[in-house]
Symmetry: C2
Subunit: 344 residues, 2 copies
């Protein structure tokens, strides 16, 4: 058995009975190598804690001392806080941070991914756009050997480490909290997403309903947008058409705030007539009328942890492996918007 600290490319190749060049390309996830061989190579590399030759690796990638952060939006406290966590970690390691926005559009994400192949960055932190379905536009970056770590809005098929929160569990708890406060007809508001967080949050909501013997009603699921005005219009319409709705679980912050605006317009009293809870990182949650119950993600810690995994790869010339994925816990913070009063 080889000592785990000293295994090199050639030893990996010998042990696997393939050429060094095959190992090298397999480790970079090159499309030239069959998926079966790539898996064999990567598995052994992981097992033996293989570390690429720092000097060769340095020549290839660590030119810019820069990491790129691909974000769907910044007018969302979650991402603003996550950036702060990322920058804190980057600074500690002497790295610059470049931010690229996709505005939640798949087309823009594709352009950004293409743009990044130009060698501007050493590694990438990625939160996917809500409009993104496939992730093939990141293949080129992976082939170039650019390490990627996904956070919050992830797609497992990209095969990178991910840093996420317990979306399913916290959504279950939030829905359960509404049910225990007396709600029986709970709308679920979400971005029209193809993302795993979106489906996990929906699943948590469904499971809580199921455990309370309430049938899931798909017409209570409303797809929102990033435009508040349009959201308020849709929520107002839903509340008018379905006057029995007595609870709202918003899977993103903007939709919780837009629900407040819709209630303001319709003269619906929160929490007496309608209770609201939402994923949110806004500092103003406790200042709203009434104060908003939230599921609050550890946004700063998520950014910091994602950056830590990426920078460890860059500074210690390790591979980033999907097995390094981390799940952090969100916090359920009960405030006045879900207070238990008789629902009229």
């Amino acid at each position: 058995m080889l000592a785990t600290s000293s295994v090199n490319l050639k030893q990996l190749a010998t042990q696997l009975g393939v050429s060094s060049s095959t190992v090298s390309r397999a480790l970079r996830d090159s499309y030239e190598i069959s998926s079966a061989t790539r898996q064999r190579v990567q598995q052994l590399a992981r097992q033996l804690d293989y570390q690429p030759n720092p000097i060769a690796s340095n020549l290839r990638s660590s030119v810019s001392k820069t990491i790129g952060v691909i974000l769907p939006q910044v007018d969302n406290p979650f991402f603003a806080l996550a950036i702060n966590g990322i920058e804190e970690e980057a600074q500690r390691n002497g790295y610059h941070v470049l931010i690229y926005l996709t505005h939640d559009k798949s087309e823009q994400e594709k352009q950004v991914a293409k743009f990044m192949t130009g060698g501007r960055v050493d590694g990438i932190l990625l939160a996917l756009a809500s409009g993104t379905r496939g992730v093939g536009h990141f293949d080129k970056l992976k082939q170039l050997g650019l390490p990627i770590v996904q956070f919050d809005r992830v797609n497992d098929s990209l095969g990178t480490p991910t840093v996420t929160t317990d979306d399913y569990t916290s959504s279950y708890q939030a829905t359960q909290h509404l049910l225990e406060a007396g709600c029986r007809t709970i709308a679920h508001l979400r971005l029209a997403e193809c993302l795993s967080i979106s489906s996990k949050r929906l699943q948590g909501y469904q499971a809580a309903l199921h455990d309370h013997h309430i049938a899931f009603d798909p017409s209570l699921v409303l797809n929102g947008t990033n435009a508040s005005e349009e959201n308020v219009r849709r929520i107002t319409q839903l509340l008018e058409e379905r006057p029995t709705i007595d609870g709202i679980f918003a899977s993103v912050e903007r939709l919780a705030l837009n629900s407040y605006q819709a209630c303001q317009t319709l003269g619906i009293a929160i929490p007496q007539q309608l209770k609201i809870i939402g994923f949110s990182n806004t500092e103003t949650a406790s200042l709203l009328a009434p104060s908003l119950s939230t599921i609050t993600q550890p946004a700063h810690a998520i950014g910091k942890e994602a950056a830590r995994i990426l920078l460890q790869a860059l500074t210690k010339h390790r591979l980033v492996l999907p097995t390094q994925s981390v799940e952090l816990k969100s916090e359920l913070i009960i405030r006045a918007s879900t207070s238990k009063q008789p629902v009229k």
Copy 2:
């Protein structure tokens, strides 16, 4: 007189009686050329609407089709909205946008400026860090001929176009509004800044007091930070020490929200005991308890206009000249936090 559309470098040089190389360097603000000559050259170039040779200029600068945006923070709706305006304009012109954060620290701004000399971007949009005093760290970028447009947080001595709002006038109006609502002891909260917006906002406040025959009291000016917890501590202390304070004018959004938090802690009723108005772009202003009166800057338009000036320079190979500066108007939006009720 030369036709304004056809003047070239050589003609400028002939008319001024200097070499073409001197003109070229003077236009790039090179330190090798005396300030008097630079002024003479730039004045004539402006007068004759000189446009650099597109091909030569293209070789020098338009390699990356990228503009860099230097921002103090993103966890501030003003900057988040400004970015959206910038990106809208950049996309329309086929440019990429890279965002660099300084976290309001002068040291980080210096690092970013140095980093940008590496030729990553074709031009720069700049909002200064609150901690920045001098702007000498941008000299190198100017010498490299990189066009810069400043917005919101500007320093005139940098000699670039600026896009700002009517900070003095809107601060005067906000203070006047508090006075007319019955306030007599108005605190002014601001970031400890050396920026022109900060002093203009203070001056507007002072002028309104003066016109209402109220003496300016420097001990009512509180310097805040970007850390909410520390701000709440400072505001709480001020309100405890000066119980006669019946109005707060916050020159940045965070300090208005922190004032709400301080009042929550101290059990001070807004607006009955204390009225609050602040510069703010948050969508939640109308949802707060009570809804917050604001001076709202046209953040999206500011970003868009700054980008428009820069991209015109890049795509049409014009110089960016300080004379292109623009001032847009903010809007005073009166809500419940300054409602005129008898102050106890």
